[in-house]
Symmetry: C3
Subunit: 425 residues, 3 copies
């Protein structure tokens, strides 16, 4: 890794002092125009989501909290280095000298790339060894970089919050792997596959940091100015709306009208996923509310009906229910994005606004919104194909008996991989 | 809600691509001048305070952690949507087309509005049903929007950190409701009205995030530039000073000189409340320290003497002690604000600075600092009246036997409203 | 404290409305150029590290969580007020009127100053009384301000992330105090000197917030623009690399290849310490990875071999292992900084870039990179001397039998200083 970085990675113009005179000559009058000040606060929020958000969301199991937060930490730290290289080769390679020039936007993209693999981790949580996770991440990042290049650069779909690129891909990648690694005797670990009171409170830390910072996630790499502003507003509204429907549905469909912590921890976030692609478009505030409203319903019902169905009939054991939190809402997000793009017009966006928002420039300056909608739909298909296909291949690799995976009655237990002190006081 | 948003809410000029040409024509040369970059980091800090800060502060009860953080999540997410509408009608309505134009400042104000209701939740924590909380929030937000309009727009008081508008109102609103909902037999739940070791550590998460981000809270909607800068410094100093006096008083007045976690969790925050109104004025660093010093004493003594007195003699059961953390410091903050405003002079603020800071423009261009002080005091009275009056009315409504409130021996227990798994390992 | 603030502390030009006309005359055209917008997001991240990061990192002991997070809160709040005064006298004194003019950069520096004392607290965690901690902090801040003045202003070493000024000083200061306060019978508290399952998860909150926000720590006071940008990138990479080596070493050197939570909680942060000085230089991305790689190895091996050795043979009882997390990586950071500075050239930095980065101006305009390297090394020596010397003196003072320190069998127990409710449900 060090050698690869030594050969390929350099600072970009905005993070190197070498370009000071150059910047002056280009009339970039002030340091505040540095991309750092546009994106760094959002980057830090995304960073918190990756490490605290995903990490603590996975501490809900009574005996797998170390593994949830600890392995999340490990694979995220590994993944972001690999992602800087892989994404760099596809997106930031400077052909004049063969170097990748990195800045804060690359760090954000690396975090995004890692998010895809952490989603996949959610499906296999507690059932794989750390070595398997490293393999899952290594291939996941690679597939992600290729898929992202195809969707964003070749197909020219827009996907600011990654509904398609991150969530749909990551969701189906994880589900396919979980399907390949099906354990028929997993019920031997049933005693450990649940939460205790305080582990559920820890998981709420993860939920809330994900929920609060999701507007930063969806706006982190959108256009400067109104683009970031609008993406944050849309996400904020969609998430608020999802919370209400999740609580309502959870209470309606449980016996005695009680709320289930699993739904509160997970389904409340589905709106942020589903608004990812369209957040930078003129979705309008009520549009965001509608998306959030629908996702709250679908995601909560998913936990109640679809996850048990998948485990029983489709042989897919989905520990964290990523199908309800990432895969389904991601697909909805892709569809919403395609519709919103196809419905765009100069009357709503203004002439320059339309070009700016959809990046109708250079090779794509003859694109129309309608055609853009088609490209969005094509992007969604690519994400699903890469997720399912990649997951099956990587799942085959992970079935090799050389990775030290835990026995069926050792699943969801920290004991095989961590030095454990006493459990209670 | 979706329909109301569809009819009324639109993006404002800074969050819509439609205005790009317009901005260029107005010489707003750079995207970095977008209000988003002035306010978004503060917005995210406030967001964390609302959801993690208030949420985890209320997890201290041994068996009501789910309710503390979960219902906080629910009513905050509901409240902010309603607040965008209510505040929009009063503050951001564009009369030319009858639409509310929203941007990041509206999101911050919605979070502020929600804070008032979450404060009130603190007084009734563990004693009401989720439906009652929704009703409390619905009316609370409405009252808040009216009260805010009267204080800020009609009376022209300044209240950047909301000592009056948020804390005084929210505090007395909650206390009045708690008074109306007095439960004479609450001692039946005594076994549950306390903390355990780890629930106190969870509550410290809430305390610390509130404490750290309070400078952002008080500076979030102050004037760009020096206004935000100064508000952050004043709040930082007041809070630091409060911590020291809280620890000193807690140790002095407890037997054996031991510290009480309740004081550390709550009273340390009183300085931030009390400096809210005056934070944007030239309070001077030593002024902030004095305010923090006094509030630490008053708030801690409040927990030791006033809360038990109120419960015994005034029939006000105040679960989180919001009288000591919000109501009293809020009133102090209003008084400090009035004094600081009345003492303002061009010698300290400069000519333009005085006009900018107090917004002596348009209809108010003949205001003097002395008169502004009077207006501040009037604003404080309005906040108290709305809090007490509104609380009594809403309390009456909540006494109707249709809301499914818990029985006396079920208070402070998650069991009636949540699916509970096992409690220990 | 209030009196000292009243006499000395005032707002600076960027936080006072008095200077509005002055700013206009100087062509500072926009409020966004206010230093507040360059530094406030980083300040808040640093603030989170100090209070939540350090605080929760020290909650890992099974019965000392209140003390870990509570006393951390107390001494940090006390320390930052004292630091504003002490650093103000040395750095921000305006000689024309004898006042200290404060702005957001002073707040960051005060937080940095406090970090030095919190590091020292890590060495004596659980073995001292709150009064002793106040004394430790009072002298620690004073020594820090003098040492910082010598290193940064007199010697003209650069130390953006404080590898030398903060970590080396704080580490040796704490170790020397711990050596002076050696308790031969500490084994009487052995039953309490360990973690339980959930206290380790709490500690991970501290670890992750320190880890995530370290890029903000190292870039908070570097030059506007590319300086902050580059420091953040370097720190991000070094930390990512440290995580991988820590996990690898922890697994290799433990029996059965299991991971140890102590290493994950602490050693993963060593890379951020070691890259502190050089983060703003052109360390290059692969250089950051190398630094992180080495530190992960050294720090983890330190926990396995050096800490037990120090306790047994050197009579230094280091509760949190600050020698492995701060002292050693700090020294490495100082050395890396000296080498990187000595290797600087105009070919890499550009002409203006070199002058800007190393501040070769005024009295130092004839400095060369090679000589700067020597100055860096001199700075490192000063930091070590101040740490060891100051620690021995303060340790002597703390041995006086007037501070109420706990008995040997009461160490690592919250009971002597806190009102404790029941421990389990």
């Amino acid at each position: 890794m060090i050698i690869l970085f030594g050969v390929f990675i350099r600072y970009n113009e905005e993070s190197s002092p070498f370009w000071i005179e150059h910047r002056k000559a280009n009339n970039i009058s002030s340091d505040i125009e540095n991309d750092f000040y546009f994106r760094y606060p959002s980057f830090q929020d995304v960073h918190v989501m990756i490490f605290v958000g995903f990490g603590f969301l996975m501490t809900f199991l009574k005996r797998y909290s170390f593994g949830g937060v600890g392995f999340n930490f490990l694979i995220a730290a590994f993944g972001l280095q690999w992602a800087l290289l892989m994404q760099g080769w596809f997106h930031s390679l400077d052909y004049s000298d063969g170097k990748i020039k990195i800045g804060v936007e690359n760090l954000i993209n690396a975090d995004f790339c890692v998010a895809g693999c952490l989603i996949a981790y959610g499906a296999v949580l507690g059932k794989v060894s750390p070595v398997q996770l490293m393999v899952l991440t290594l291939f996941g990042i690679t597939l992600f970089a290729v898929e992202e290049y195809i969707i964003l650069n070749l197909i020219h779909a827009r996907d600011a919050g990654g509904s398609m690129v991150i969530h749909t891909f990551g969701g189906y990648y994880g589900l396919s792997i979980s399907w390949m690694l099906y354990r028929p005797n997993l019920s031997q670990s049933n005693r450990l596959q649940g939460s205790v009171y305080h582990s559920d409170v820890f998981a709420m830390i993860g939920t809330l940091f994900l929920w609060m910072f999701w507007p930063s996630f969806n706006s982190a790499i959108t256009d400067h100015g109104d683009g970031q502003h609008r993406a944050a507003i849309n996400t904020y509204l969609a998430l608020a709306s999802t919370v209400l429907t999740t609580v309502a549905i959870s209470s309606l469909f449980q016996k005695h009208g009680k709320l289930d912590m699993v739904h509160i921890q997970n389904s409340t976030l589905a709106g942020g996923v589903a608004v990812g692609t369209a957040a930078e478009f003129m979705l309008m505030p009520y549009g965001s509310l509608i998306v959030g409203f629908c996702c709250g319903i679908i995601s909560t019902l998913g936990y109640i009906y679809i996850t048990p169905f998948m485990e029983k009939h489709l042989k897919i054991q989905d520990t964290c229910g990523i199908h309800n939190l990432h895969a389904m809402p991601g697909v909805i997000g892709g569809v919403v994005g395609a519709i919103t793009a196809a419905a765009a017009s100069e009357a709503v966006y203004g002439h320059e606004g339309l070009i700016n928002t959809f990046d109708f420039e250079d090779a794509f300056k003859n694109m129309t919104p309608t055609r853009q909608g088609g490209h969005q739909a094509a992007g969604l298909c690519v994400a699903i194909c890469f997720g399912v296909g990649g997951g099956i291949i990587v799942g085959c690799i992970l079935r090799l008996p050389i990775w030290g995976d835990p026995a069926d009655d050792n699943c969801f237990d920290d004991e095989p991989y961590w030095e454990i002190t006493e459990m209670a006081h």
